[in-house]
Every structure is written in C-alpha cells, then in structure tokens.
Subunit: 376 residues, 2 copies
C-alpha cells in the first residue's frame, strides 16, 4: 500500500492547481553520474508530444538505465534542441534507420506512425513498447499492465537481437483495471458498468492548451476558439470525440470492452462503458460498478485494494475525502475510493468504486516504462 | 417531440458560453398587460437565490397568471428592491404572516426554512411547492414530476382554502427520470446504474461564483479560494459534497434511489448512483445504464424518447453530436443521446443513455412552476 503523503490542503494550494505536462527543461531534474555501457540503448518516438515528454520524466524519475537515448519525432520537430539529464539532445527525424542499434523504442506518435514504423523497428531487432491502439488487439502482441498481467510478457527477452512488439493499453482501461483487477482475482468480475470523466491530456498537449485558452476566452466574454474539439470545452463536457461505431459505442468505449477481455484473458467478462470528456487537465476519473461471481464485502475489498501494488485507497467518509483528478496529477498511483456495497445488487455480489489516475503517467508513459523495466 | 432550434455553432459562440442564473433585472423581459384578479396570489420564498431568481424567470416566460406576488427572503435580504415585469418589488422578510392570503408558495430556501415555514403556510391555507428535500419522503406529501407522475397530484386543489405540501424532487432525479420514465413505461426498468456529472448551480449561486473565481485565480497562477467546497473546483471534479451515510452512499445518491421508488410507485426498482460534481455552471449530465424486464431495442427506445414530452433527442452518431450541459443551459427540455443497446446485457434487455438537463430550470424552478400550473 502506498499513502499519498501530502495532506489535502497542500494540494489545493500547490502548483498542481493547473497540472500540465512537464516540458523538457523540467525533465532535467536528475544527473546521471555516468551512462551505463551494459544498459540498453533507447529511442523515444514522438518525443515532443505530451506522452513523449512524460516518457523522459519517468525514465529520469525511475533512474531507468540506458547507454544512449535517441529523441525521435516528425520532420517538423527535427532539429529542436533540449537538455535532458544535463546532456544536450537534438530531435531527429524518424526514419527506418533511426532504429539501428536501438534495443528498446517507446512509441507515442499516433497509430499511423506505429503501424508504419513499428514493424520496421522490429525487423531491425528493436523491442517496441507502443502506446497507440495500432497493435493492441493483435493476437501475437502482448497487451500489458505490469501489475495486472505480467505473464503476458513471457517469451519476450531483451538482448537476443530479436525484435518484438508490446502494446500499452488504453489509458482508461489501465486506470480502471488497476483497481478492478485485485477485486477480480478474489471474486471474479462478471460484469462492469463504467462511466468515465476524461481529461484533456488524452487528446494531447494541444487539447490541454485549448482547454486553457478557451477558459480564458470565456471568462473574458469572448467566443471560445474550437480547434481540437468541435464542442466548447471550457465549463462544459461532451461525449468522447472518438468515432462512433455501428453499434453506437465510440472507439474509446470499445477499447475498454475489448482490452479488458484480452488483458484478463477472459472472453466472457461483460463490460459496458460511457466515455465522457470533462474540463480537467491531465487525470481521468471513472465511476465503476462491479458485479461479482463470488460475494465480496466492502471491507474485504478495501483491504485488498490497500495491499494492491500501484493503488492507493482514499476513502475517508467522515471527511468526505475521496480521489480527485487533481490529487493524482503527476503521481504514479491510481487512487480508489467511494468503495461501497452496491444497493442495487443482492447481498455482497456487487460494489461501486470511484477511481482516478494520471492519464499521461500511469495511463501512458509510466505503464510503458514499467513494461520496458520488465525487459531488463 | 421538441427540437432544439439553434444549430450547434450558435451555441458555441452565444452568451451561453458561461451560463449563469439570471439576476432580477434580466427577469423583466415581459410586461403583463394587467394583473388577473381571478388568478392566484403567489409567494416566492428564497427569492434572492439562484432557484428563486429562476422561479421569476419561469413564471414570466410561461405567463403564469397571478394577481399578486410576494418576494420573500431572510432578514438579511429584506428591503432589497428590484423590478419584475415592470413593477417594483421590495424583498420582504419571511414571517408566518407572510402567507396570509397567499394561494401558492414556491419555496427554495433550504430544508430548515421549509421545515419551519412549510407547515405554517399550510395552516394558513397556502399550497406549498417545496424545492427542498424536507418533505420528499413524507408519505402524505406528493413528490411530482408533471410529465412522469401527474396522478400523484390528485386530491390537491386550489381555491378550496385548504393548504397542502407538494415536493419537488431532487434535480438529478428529475433529469434522470424525464428520460428513463418513457422507457420504463414500455419495458419496465428493473435496475438502473447512474453516474452523474453535476454542475455548480446545484450548490447555489455562491458555488457558481466560486467556480468562476477559482478558475480566474488558477489561470493567474494564484491559489484558488475554497469557501463553498473544500476541494479545488477549477479544472477538477470531486465526489458530491453531500454527507456520506453509513452505507457509504452520499445523501444525493440516496435521494436518487429513494425518490425514484416513490415517483414510480415501485418499491422493487433497483437503483445505484455515484454523484460527482464537475466544473460546469448550471446543467447536470448523467450516464444511465438501464436493465429492463421486457426487451426494448434502441430504435424503439429512440422513437419513444422523441415523442416524450419535455424530452429532446440529440443523438447524431455521424456528427458525433450528443447532449452537452452547455447546449441545454437555460432551456426547458431534458436532452437524451448516446442511446444504444448495452453490450454487457443479453439481447435487448439493456440500454445505455446519456442525459443532460438544466439543473436550475427543469431540475428545480421549471418543475415547481409546472406543478403550480397543474393547480390552476
């Protein structure tokens, strides 16, 4: 169990009031005493994006060992210079040759880049940890949350000169399953009804900027500028902008349905989701209703979650203090609260929980780096 | 069926960008040619609050007939002057004598004022429409949504000189049941799982001001001022601030559970709710998962909702256009979209829907005035 160390008041008046992705100058928080010759060489694909930036923060925060690191992005960003861990880097244009000699590549540059360059990297012997949805449902590609299904990584080993693809799940799926899996292991989830409260960061740094800019405009009485989203985002919320499929679900929702089945290796688990974008910067919240095969009372559930890796329980009924997106922003742990017996189900067959997790961190960059750590 | 007449783009760049309660000068939109001598005398209790103000707007918008109207509030607000329908009024302090000669009183001044003055008004022959939760679960008090259970009003008649109490349901309950009831009538709802996205207005005008002020402060890099809510509200969300009960539900959630049973006159309907406050000004959204006794396919459900009074269907999958809080702000109709078969239930036994409604209007003032109209 991990406990968030800061009391509530500190969060209210801290720099997390408007949490944003850290830009590269901020990444230079640590200095490596020496680069490790035996450590892997790394590439970050999409390094100028919100998740790309967070890859660097997480690598640094976790002292991930590397002997070299390539900063890769589109032609448009190539040539940009920045300092990371007191060393100067130039952003290079992504080409097939970029992967020569690269052991591990962390991809977060969108599905089309992953589809084009992922297989190229694998052919050159690179192990790709891909944050896009391009390969998630590919039967041959493991879809991994290290705390949930580490066994899916079996057979993938670094240093054999063999490339491979590993997929990072969707951010909403990761945050939901971090909390639901420990309960699933005990009581088997039969059905899950999820409603999400998703942050701007899931649509990238430009969406975060749009939310901030629109909010300023609305407060000044000016018309809000809508570029990324067609709906006004400031002081509003809307159904997730992913395309709607023929069954009426949007792609984000179907990711939660399908990825849960694959990650839990349970084709029968029933999941429905309604994904909504709310005017919050960088952490998702999810209201999750669970139906179990075996009874599970709320006290046992709370104890299980308190002991779950990567999960923190914030469930103070007396103080009415439960997880908030702000409180988990820039933090690794997924927070769970509002743990209670579902009155609409018989006995202890169901629970309601409320989950918050940093979308950029555990929802994307941290999970990918944890996958890479499993290769070491 | 009602169709929202404004295209999306107009909403984005209209004055609804930061929807607020209308203050009294704005209420003076209409002029009565003459006060009707045969019409009831009215009192508005809590006239200076967000809902009190909206009572006036709605009375004016709907040309509600009255021969006189008393503006009542606490001692603190007494003496304030304002113009309504081109007539000048002075806010009077609420006392037992306030109700002498009053036929209908619209209350929205909190539960303790209702508990104290509601019975006093009834004793003096006034019919009270109470927006607080004070009497909602009282067996002798009808709990009414006019489109849903008008039959509950039977036996209450104006002009008999007999006072009575009628309760206005909780805003989240009203908005949910406006959409769920037409489907319930056709297929019988067995179970409902609701997650709410609730606006500032539910906590009053001061909460709306707090959201705006905090947002300005955060954008300016200053610490947000927390008075109404203990959590930062700007760019954040949190579990509803209502007290948590021993079963782990908060009072707002239990209102949805219990009021649904009373309004539907169905003690067996199973409801669970998770109520969350989001940084939106004045309209609530709700993600509602429904389980039916009889099969109900999504096309039939959509047709039923299109024909339901007070409901508008916004369900354009191709354009990814669904209800938003902003689009329903200052509007009477509750909007429903994302109507789809629930993949986690067999056949057509379940649906997911997404509902938005103006919290101050249909969630409070409009519903109360509609109840009063049933008395005429």
């Amino acid at each position: 169990m991990t406990i968030l160390s800061l009391p509530l008041q500190n969060h209210l008046f801290s720099s997390t009031a408007l949490p944003k992705p850290r830009r590269f100058p901020l990444c230079a928080t640590k200095v490596r005493m020496s680069l490790q010759e035996s450590a892997p060489s790394i590439a970050v694909v999409g390094v100028t994006g919100a998740v790309g930036q967070e890859f660097l923060s997480v690598l640094s925060d976790r002292d991930f060992p590397y002997r070299s690191i390539k900063m890769l992005a589109s032609k448009r960003s190539a040539g940009r210079r920045f300092t990371f861990e007191e060393k100067e880097y130039v952003v290079e244009e992504l080409t097939p040759e970029s992967f020569d000699g690269v052991d591990i590549a962390l991809f977060s540059a969108g599905g089309s880049i992953s589809r084009e360059f992922g297989p190229i990297a694998v052919d050159r012997g690179t192990i790709v940890v891909d944050n896009s949805s391009a390969f998630r449902m590919d039967e041959k590609v493991p879809l991994v949350i290290p705390e949930v299904n580490p066994e899916a990584m079996e057979g993938i080993k670094l240093g054999m000169g063999k490339g491979a693809l590993i997929a990072n799940p969707n951010c909403s799926t990761i945050i939901c399953l971090m909390a639901a899996t420990p309960l699933h292991r005990r009581a088997k989830v039969l059905r899950m009804v999820v409603s999400t409260y998703q942050a701007a960061s899931g649509a990238g740094a430009a969406a975060m900027e749009e939310l901030e800019q629109q909010t300023r405009e609305v407060l000044e009485g000016r018309p809000p500028t809508c570029k990324i989203f067609k709906e006004q985002y400031a002081f509003n919320l809307f159904s997730h902008n992913a395309s709607i499929l023929s069954n009426g679900y949007n792609e984000e929702e179907m990711k939660m349905v399908k990825e849960t089945r694959k990650i839990w290796n349970d084709k029968d688990v029933k999941v429905t989701a309604t994904c909504i974008r709310v005017p919050v910067m960088r952490a998702h919240a999810e209201s999750v209703n669970l139906q179990f095969e075996k009874p599970l009372d709320e006290d046992t559930a709370r104890d299980i979650l308190k002991n779950a890796p990567g999960v923190v329980v914030i469930d103070d009924r007396a103080a009415n203090h439960f997880p908030t997106p702000l409180e988990v922003s820039n933090r690794d742990d997924v927070a769970v609260g509002r743990i209670r017996r579902d009155l609409s189900q018989d006995g202890n067959q169901g629970l309601d929980i409320f989950v918050c997790g940093d979308q950029i961190r555990k929802g994307a960059a941290l999970n990918a780096v944890q996958i890479a750590e499993m290769l070491l």
